[in-house]
């Protein structure tokens, strides 16, 4: 519903009761990232650990969610088990529209349920059910059970965790509607620590639209822009895995734990190969006609003679990099088989793949032995990796339990910090150079999507520290405005400030439309202030040695430039975090 305030549902899992709370701030934080930060300020406890039962798990949408195409993402805010600091993770599926139609701008979950539980909410519904029998059940099986427990097929969103979340892995994800994820920074463990196996959001509300033809006509314009530009081709055609071949060509694809950045064998796992050999179909987040989600399949022979089963697995550039090139895989079906196991366990696929890449190199170097890994990890050996993913999700031994807390944590204990590919968290799939490494290592979410550092690397040969850091700060500010609306970042070239203002005006958010620049600045600073208040020290961030040994199309990484970027960006982050409210 269009309103000048936020309508928030808070649920205390200890009592199973909820409360509708009205909060001001629409014109200052908009929603999404801004609203999640505002709600963490209100309900969070910066001084207490991430798993304190009173810490909130926050889901927030924005003023444009559901009203315009590709305004289809939800921001999840929480104190992360990965670094015990405030963090955000973004997910799509049907979560955003479900929250919209449940008539909520945000959902805040606090407390710890006495027994493993399933929370379902809707515009006229709130229930907390005991599902102790579902604890330990993998994500695919629990999905089947949950779907039968509630109505509203197609018009609901189901968020759930797997064994990794239950076992409090610092990079357990929250899976949304089977194929999407709040992947990074361990939201799944936050649910696990709250004894919360799943959340269903029923999108059963109905709202009036603005009078007159302006809104419907603007919607048509936006829809046409989004479906007729080359964006449609980029994300709908091969999807993000188109990057695999491109990055390999320019020597910027992390391969075999970043030992290489290009390899002719990569042709077995390019976006083109996935499309030719494995692609079954595309699917979409609700409210997005682009349909970037690519679904491939795995086929397993489980019995002789010729008895097979198959499963459908979604793939993108990041999973293909993390469980493909990073693990030296050369076959697309093998990559899907590893992703499939990661999905069952409910791990963040990027962290899981990069962690196992480190473990493989550590095993090769004798830093660890098979006593730790339990399986003889070898690059390009899918069977071993599938087994290892299971150990990681289940926390089979001390080694895997520690590795599931973060690659660097394991490296600090066992050795091999130098080749742990960690930039704040396990790296994303771009070895483009100094600006990207700095951007992910220090970025707010430690995500490749915080700002376009990877793109800056590809467009700039010169080594101008000020220009690069100015870009990172400004680009983050632009993106935080989009993630406060909440747009899919794939639409960032269409949703420029002018169009965002038109959309907000069409819905009656005129003050916000005239205030976007200040809102973006405010939310950017607010998030950094929260991050710093929960312990982040950008000046203490270390970039492991292997990143300085990378050679891209531009030549070897320049360590001096990298350090200068890091120092300058850290300074700017400190300034941003300090300046708010002063």
């Amino acid at each position: 519903m269009i309103r000048d305030h936020f309508r928030i549902l808070t649920v205390d899992l200890a009592t199973g009761k909820g409360r509708i709370v009205i909060i001001d701030g629409r014109d200052t934080v908009a929603g999404g990232s801004g609203l999640a930060a505002l709600l963490f300020e209100k309900y969070g406890h910066p001084d207490r650990p991430w798993d304190d039962p009173e810490q909130p798990l926050i889901f927030a949408i924005g003023p444009l969610t559901g009203y315009f195409p590709l305004m289809s993402k939800t921001v999840c805010g929480f104190k992360s088990p990965y670094h015990d600091q405030y963090g955000e993770s973004h997910g799509g599926g049907r979560s955003a529209l479900s929250l919209r139609f449940a008539d909520l701008d945000g959902l805040v979950i606090t407390g710890r349920a006495e027994r493993p539980s399933f929370l379902s909410i809707g515009s006229r519904h709130l229930e907390l059910k005991d599902v102790h029998y579902m604890w330990g059940v993998d994500l695919q099986e629990s999905g089947k059970m949950l779907r039968k427990m509630i109505g509203g097929a197609g018009h609901r969103s189901i968020l759930r965790i797997g064994p990794a979340g239950e076992n409090l892995s610092a990079y357990a994800c929250i899976t949304v509607d089977t194929y999407r994820h709040f992947g990074r920074l361990g939201g799944g463990a936050v649910m696990g620590s709250k004894n919360l196996k799943a959340i269903a959001i029923l999108g059963d509300g109905i709202f009036d639209l603005p009078e007159g033809k302006e809104y419907a006509s603007l919607f048509d314009d936006v829809h046409n822009k989004l479906t007729t530009t080359d964006m449609m081709d980029k994300y709908h055609n091969l999807g993000t895995p188109v990057n695999v071949a491109i990055l390999n060509e320019i020597k910027a694809l992390p391969i075999r734990n970043l030992q290489r950045t290009t390899d002719p064998k990569i042709k077995g796992i390019t976006g083109e190969t996935f499309a030719d050999d494995t692609l079954l179909r595309n699917t979409a987040c609700a409210g997005c006609p682009v349909g970037c989600i690519h679904i491939g399949f795995v086929r397993e022979k489980f019995m002789e003679p010729n008895q097979y089963l198959y499963r459908q697995v979604s793939y993108d550039h990041e999973p293909v990099f993390a469980t493909g090139s990073m693990l030296g895989m050369t076959n697309a079906f093998s990559v899907l088989a590893i992703i499939d196991m990661v999905e069952k366990m409910g791990l963040d696929v990027m962290s899981a793949g990069v962690a196992l890449a480190w473990a493989t190199e550590a095993l090769e170097n004798g830093v660890i032995s098979e006593k730790e890994t339990l399986v003889p990890l070898k690059f390009d050996d899918a069977a071993g990796y599938k087994e290892a993913v299971q150990h990681l999700g289940l926390g089979t031994n001390d080694f895997y339990r520690l590795l599931a807390q973060g690659t660097m944590k394991a490296a600090e204990q066992y050795g091999g910090e130098n080749f742990a590919c960690v930039l704040g968290q396990e790296m994303a799939g771009y070895a483009t150079g100094e600006v990207f490494f700095t951007s992910q290592a220090l970025g707010f979410r430690h995500s490749h999507l915080d700002s376009g550092g990877y793109s800056f690397d590809q467009k700039h040969e010169e080594k101008d520290v000020k220009q690069a850091v100015d870009f990172l700060v400004k680009d983050e500010q632009g993106r935080v405005l989009l993630t406060s609306m909440v747009s899919c970042l794939f639409a960032r070239e269409v949703y420029n400030n002018e169009l965002l203002a038109d959309c907000l005006n069409a819905l009656g958010y005129t003050t916000l439309a005239g205030n976007m620049h200040q809102v973006a600045q405010h939310v950017q600073k607010m998030r950094w202030r929260l991050r710093l208040s929960t312990g982040f020290n950008p000046q203490g961030v270390k970039i492991p040695g292997s990143f300085t040994e990378v050679t891209t199309w531009k030549g070897p990484v320049d360590e001096k430039y990298l350090n200068a970027l890091k120092e300058e960006y850290a300074k700017r982050i400190m300034d941003l975090g300090r300046s708010e409210g002063t």
Partner: protein, 137 residues
């Protein structure tokens, strides 16, 4: 001669579940933001891995919902389906009960929403799943 067309869903195997059709119907026909108040609704057929189904009006002729309507709010459309006159509706819900394919949605006040075969949803489908088809006279 006036063409007589109905909305059909001949290529639902291509559906990506974006809901653009439902949202367009709710927005353009019923002036609502909703997944439900739409003449075409998309459901996953037993989880997302099995694809999507549409729940449209199949243009019965005679239409059981029109026959069941006690006040003439639903009346027979010549090409199949119904003509809806909201002012005549007493929100009894008999139309939804009579529909053999669950195509009539009742909101919390039992107001019915059904496809009127206007075709405004069709251009919003990115995969050409929907089609306005001519009906033999």
């Amino acid at each position: 001669m006036k063409t007589r067309k109905i909305l059909t869903t001949p290529r639902m195997e291509r559906c990506i579940g974006c809901h653009a059709c439902s949202l367009a119907c709710a927005r353009l026909v019923n002036k609502k933001l909703s997944w439900d108040t739409a003449g075409i609704r998309i459901v996953s057929s037993g989880g997302l891995s099995t694809g999507f189904e549409a729940k449209p009006c199949v243009a019965c002729n005679p239409a059981p919902c029109a026959l069941a309507c006690p006040t003439g709010a639903f009346s027979q459309r010549k090409a199949g389906g119904v003509i809806v006159k909201r002012k005549l509706c007493i929100q009894c819900g008999d139309c939804a009960a009579a529909c053999p394919v669950d195509a009539v949605y009742l909101d919390a006040t039992t107001e019915p929403f059904v496809c009127i075969h206007c075709g405004q949803c069709v251009p919003f489908c990115p995969h050409d799943c929907l089609e306005m088809a001519e009906v033999a006279p």
